[in-house]
């Protein structure tokens, strides 16, 4: 194990740290930067609970070495709200009853954000596809999909 100088932008702020080469992005976020909104559900890229946005695209942070995303712009769930002003997507999740235990939600919100940032008027199918890498054990997905639809309507009007 060697060390590496990590430099990137996380939620709009520059970060520069010495890290171990074997540090996963997930652990950089949770353990080093104390951004614990990103969750480890499976550790193998099969559940999406660890989803973050890197340079505009969603990825599983459990499958990335922090070193791989050196020099990129990373957004975690903590970076979605604007200070105390929550994002319309977050409000829709609340309004539509899309949150139960909450474990899948950061990943779901980020997947929704990545979708709506690129495609402000998605079809139901496009919404389902965009969330297809995020597993939820509580809700049965219907309210989550409705929340994304709701957010899309709000944001595009």
């Amino acid at each position: 194990m060697s060390s590496f100088t990590f430099k990137a932008t996380v939620n709009g702020k520059s970060v520069e740290l010495n890290i171990a080469t074997n540090l996963r992005l997930l652990n950089l976020l949770r353990d080093v930067l104390e951004l614990t909104g990103t969750k480890e559900g499976c550790g193998e890229g099969e559940c999406g609970a660890c989803t973050v946005i890197v340079d505009g695209e969603i990825v599983n942070s459990c499958l990335l070495l922090a070193a791989q995303v050196n020099g990129t712009e990373i957004i975690t769930i903590e970076g979605v709200a604007n200070g105390h002003e929550i994002h319309p997507i977050q409000q829709s999740f609340i309004d539509k009853g899309a949150v139960q235990c909450g474990y899948c939600i950061p990943g779901m919100v980020l997947a929704a954000k990545a979708l709506l940032d690129k495609n402000p008027k998605p079809t139901k199918e496009e919404i389902a596809l965009s969330l297809s890498g995020n597993v939820c054990r509580c809700t049965g997905y219907a309210k989550i999909a409705e929340a994304v639809e709701d957010a899309a309507h709000k944001m595009s009007s």
Binding site: S2, R24, G45, G48, T51, N60, C62, L129, S132, G133
Partner: protein, 283 residues
């Protein structure tokens, strides 16, 4: 814990060659990492990582008159969205679009899919159907090899420790219409239980040339000349027929012999080939 030794991010291909040939410790090329990172969890000793994401020329998808080619950092998502791929060989775009999840597709690469050599790799049947080749390179030279020839069994690809794949290429087939179907336990985040790529060229509604490759049947995806021959000469109006699907069933039975999965896959292949043909005919 992930067993990583040193991490390198070379800026040129020559640097990659040097790192691979000079290393005295186990060294792996890292493209996307969706497979490699998981292997590193189980690595018995530290592995040095050569991350090739810094080399821009490996991210391009190109075509000329005769062929299509793309580099080893090209992701599933890029292939899925590429006009060059969609115009020349839809089945590959379709296969790429069905891998894993959006997150996996943003990070994972086609070349990683090939190099990991899983029997269920989804992009590989699509590539093998077209006799696609890979450019294998090291400090000592480069050579093109057919993908079907370098895959040597489950998770086994014939690549020396100082070699890497730089590019994939396949020859265009004018007039080709193609489709791909995958059968998994669920609609996303699923490993294929069977997959099939089908390409056809037609003249006056009759099939004059066919390319068929199956995945997750044999240790590596393979071209099925049996099914191809059953398609040639057929009219499009009756290509989705019991006789064609029976041949698909026979092709699978031949490969699987007495394996436990044989009774299931001999039947399921009919649905997969049907869906691949429907994908072409937009049924």
């Amino acid at each position: 814990m992930i067993n990583v030794g040193s991490y390198f991010r070379p800026q040129t291909i020559e640097e990659i060659y040097e790192l691979l040939s000079n290393s005295k410790q186990p060294t792996k090329v890292l493209a996307g990492g969706t497979d490699l990172i998981l292997h590193l969890h189980k690595a018995p000793e530290p592995v040095n990582i050569v991350d090739i994401r810094g080399i821009d020329q490996l991210r391009s998808i190109e075509e000329d008159e005769d062929k299509v080619s793309f580099g080893s950092m090209v992701t599933f998502n890029q292939i899925q969205m590429s006009k060059i791929i969609l115009d020349n060989y839809k089945a590959l775009a379709k296969a790429a679009s069905l891998v894993g999840s959006p997150q996996i597709r943003n990070q994972g690469t086609i070349v990683g899919n090939i190099a990991n050599a899983s029997p269920a790799a989804d992009s590989v049947p699509a590539l093998v159907a077209m006799d696609a080749e890979v450019l294998i390179a090291s400090k000592y030279g480069q050579r093109w090899e057919r993908i079907e020839d370098v895959l040597k069994g489950i998770n086994n690809i014939s690549l020396a420790s100082d070699e890497l794949i730089l590019e994939v290429s396949f020859k265009k087939i004018p007039g080709l219409r193609s489709g791909f179907a995958k059968l998994g336990r669920r609609n996303a985040l699923a490993i294929s239980r069977i997959s099939g790529a089908v390409g056809i060229v037609t003249n006056n509604n009759f099939i004059t040339e066919a390319r068929v490759a199956l995945g997750a049947v044999a240790p590596n995806p393979f071209r099925s000349h049996l099914i191809e021959q059953a398609l040639v000469g057929r009219s499009l109006d009756e290509v989705i027929s019991d006789s064609v699907l029976e041949v698909a069933s026979l092709a699978v039975a031949e490969k699987l012999g007495n394996r436990a999965s044989a009774p299931y896959k001999r039947q399921a292949i009919k649905g997969v080939v049907r869906q691949a043909l429907e994908d072409i005919l937009h049924v």
